[in-house]
């Protein structure tokens, strides 16, 4: 189909509807309200679909849980403070192996923070976020088109692996208007999962639960979840590389920071500096293997993120002591510019004698 | 069991599952005919249970079963 010019938040909503999302439960919070409103306008009128503005983010994630129990594709969205509220729900979804899609258009934190773009929810998203040993797949789009494509992929991944999937965007991606091509039409039939709980008709009754009085039973559930996580790591790790083949310095950045970094890299290259970029697209699973591979040829890594240093830990863990890691970060919702990143790059190249 | 009638009317009887009974005595307190009494035996869970007194005037009203929290009582009437 033709490209449309669409605001990032609305793009996610439209892509979700086209992915067969049947239920959306949300709560207003800046900077993602266009997504909630898109669902209120377009999902609510679709036959068999449900839109509810819940009384809180906590309620919304629990409504998602209910809809997932009943076997349909369900989604909620919020921004950083609201995502904090949802952590209990995420833990329960993960424990019950229920698919769901959760969108975080992150903003400055901690606390009520600011309404501007930030990437300070990386730890929250990639380390489980709620209590207990679990992971959620985390997708980090970097453009309007990726908002559409990764939203569609999120629903597929959630159903395939029976796991909650987080789309980690930010205020800027949400507000930007870019041309987007939606590659899918909404399905005619909205699917119901085979393991849905809708009454024990012609089968034994079933239970979806997270509590057990036997630690050994819970232990086995944990092992089973982590076996699945290993499978996801092998099959779904995704990243993009940009001019890394001859790079002497590699920027590692995700989401909107990667867009900004690309501008800096173009300037650097036109100044003869051999700089490239690794852009993780799945933040969990993190492309550790690719980092290790790049470290065979490149010594210097500059981690650039809009926070106080979160993804940098995953880069350091992946490098296992090889190479040297530097950091440039801006917290609080401040949007860095390509020229400030270029300044950092050129200073590093000068200090390290790179040409 | 054959049908039993007394001059007072319908006769009933109950069966108390001794292993489900927790000896809460609520059936005893609500039985209108005093047909249930305390046992002096412990069941496998360590509760002193209750016993049906067959010589009494049970009418099969089922009040004991209605109040029994453990669903330990089955009632027969007729």
């Amino acid at each position: 189909m033709a490209k449309v010019l669409m605001n990032g938040n609305s793009t996610i909503g439209e892509a979700a509807i086209r992915a067969g999302c049947q239920c959306y439960f949300g709560y207003p919070i800046t900077p993602q309200n266009e997504l909630t409103e898109h669902m209120a306008t377009h999902l609510s009128r679709k036959r068999g679909c449900t839109f509810i503005q819940a009384e809180s983010e906590i309620s919304a994630i629990n409504m998602v849980y209910g809809a997932s129990v009943a076997g349909v594709r369900a989604m909620t969205s919020s921004s950083s403070p609201g995502i904090s509220l949802k952590q209990e729900g995420l833990s329960y979804l993960a424990a019950c192996e229920l698919p769901a899609v959760i969108v975080n258009m992150s903003r400055g934190g901690p606390g009520l923070g600011s309404i501007s773009a930030s990437q300070s929810d990386y730890f929250q998203a990639t380390r489980g976020g709620g209590h207990g040993d679990y992971r959620t797949i985390v997708l980090a789009p970097s453009s309007g088109q990726e908002l559409a494509d990764l939203t569609h992929r999120a629903f597929d991944l959630a159903d395939k692996y029976l796991i909650p999937v987080i789309i980690l965007g930010d205020a800027m991606l949400g507000q930007m208007m870019e041309p987007v091509e939606f590659k899918h039409e909404a399905p005619e039939e909205l699917p119901i999962r085979a393991d849905a709980l809708r009454g024990a008709k012609d089968r034994p009754s079933r239970v979806i639960k997270t509590f057990t009085s036997k630690p050994t039973e819970l232990e086995e559930i944990n092992w089973s979840l982590f076996r699945r996580y290993q499978l996801i790591k092998r099959q779904e790790t995704t990243y993009e590389t940009f001019l890394v083949e001859d790079a002497e310095l590699i920027i590692v950045a995700f989401g909107i920071a990667a867009r900004i970094a690309k501008g800096a890299i173009k300037t650097a290259r036109s100044n003869g500096l051999k700089v490239g970029m690794l852009r993780p697209i799945t933040l969990w699973p993190f492309p550790s293997d690719k980092v290790q591979e790049l470290a065979k040829k490149t010594k210097y890594f500059l981690v650039f993120e809009m926070n106080m240093g979160q993804m940098i830990e995953d880069v350091q863990l992946a490098l296992e002591g090889k190479g040297e890691v530097f950091f440039h970060g801006r917290p609080g919702g401040v949007i860095p510019t390509p020229s400030e990143v270029f300044l950092m790059v050129s200073r590093l190249c000068y200090q390290k004698g790179l040409k | 069991m054959s049908s039993r009638q007394t001059e007072k009317g319908i006769k009933g009887y109950i069966e108390v599952d001794q292993e489900l009974c927790k000896g809460c005595h609520i059936c005893i307190s609500f039985c209108p005919k005093g047909a249930i009494s305390l046992s002096d035996k412990l069941n496998a869970s360590g509760y002193l249970t209750v016993l049906f007194d067959d010589s009494g005037d049970c009418t099969g009203c089922a009040i004991c079963a209605i109040v029994c929290p453990e669903v330990a009582i089955e009632v027969y009437r007729g």
């Binding site: 239920c23 509590f211 | 109040v67």
Partner: protein, 251 residues
């Protein structure tokens, strides 16, 4: 002789782990009887809480989905909106429905969600060892009100049924108890009527059931059943609080 009383089919044969005289045991059975009599076993989903009844699925032979503490009304909303033909009921304690879950409960009622909540009010937090609940009575001693509930520190016991009746989405709310044969019969009728209100697509229904907790009230089972009449019903009067179903007394 014919058998006139036996275990309902929707109740598994597992012995209850509840304390002697506990209201959960009676109420589980009543709900199972109603499910049997209304023939809704194939289309009912129950949502049990954390608490003593977290093991409700050991007893009910129906589909059940556990919920996080207090979130039952939201989970029920998610299921019911997705699958309107499913009969959805929440089974919640007083902490669940009236403390941590107050927002979810009020808003589900306010939206007129076609769900039924069975609200087990035993004036205490049972599972965790007997702490104060929102419905604990004034002067009642619990492990967190060792000197008795003091209105200046802890406020008054909360009347959820009366509060929920103010929401226009709630169509049927009744408070009953399970401490006598008569009250048990009324509880069963109320549960049935509440399910019927859902089936008839009328709105939100709730049955608040005063339930004995002999262990945490530090009484014998019989004393706990009597305490409901002697003390609890003075604060929480039994009866129909709201009824817009137009069905009067359900048989």
């Amino acid at each position: 002789m014919r058998k006139v009383y036996s275990r309902p089919k929707s109740l598994k044969r597992n012995p209850f782990h509840y304390c002697p005289g506990c209201g959960h045991s009676v109420i589980h059975r009543l709900i199972a009887e109603v499910i049997d009599e209304m023939h809704i076993h194939d289309s009912v989903v129950g949502i049990p809480p954390p608490g003593c009844s977290v093991f409700a699925h050991h007893y009910f032979d129906i589909d059940m989905a556990e919920s996080a503490h207090g979130r039952e009304a939201a989970v029920a909303t998610g299921i019911k909106r997705t699958a309107p033909d499913v009969i959805v009921f929440t089974y919640q304690g007083d902490g669940d429905l009236a403390a941590i879950g107050t927002a979810e409960t009020i808003h589900a009622a306010n939206r007129g969600e076609r769900i039924t909540s069975i609200f087990i009010n035993n004036a205490v937090y049972g599972m965790t060892g007997g702490q104060m609940a929102p419905t604990t009575l004034l002067a009642q001693k619990t492990t967190t009100t060792p000197y008795g509930r003091d209105v200046r520190i802890e406020g008054y016991p909360i009347k959820m049924s009366e509060m929920l009746a103010l929401t226009r989405g709630a169509v049927y709310i009744e408070r009953t108890a399970v401490n006598s044969p008569a009250n048990i019969r009324k509880s069963k009728k109320a549960i049935r009527k509440a399910f019927q209100a859902q089936i008839d697509d009328l709105g939100y229904s709730l049955v608040e059931i005063l339930s004995p907790c002999s262990t945490n009230w530090r009484m014998s089972p019989l004393e706990s059943w009597q305490w409901i009449d002697e003390v609890m019903t003075k604060e929480f009067p039994l009866g129909v609080i709201k009824d817009l179903t137009g069905t009067g007394d359900v048989d």
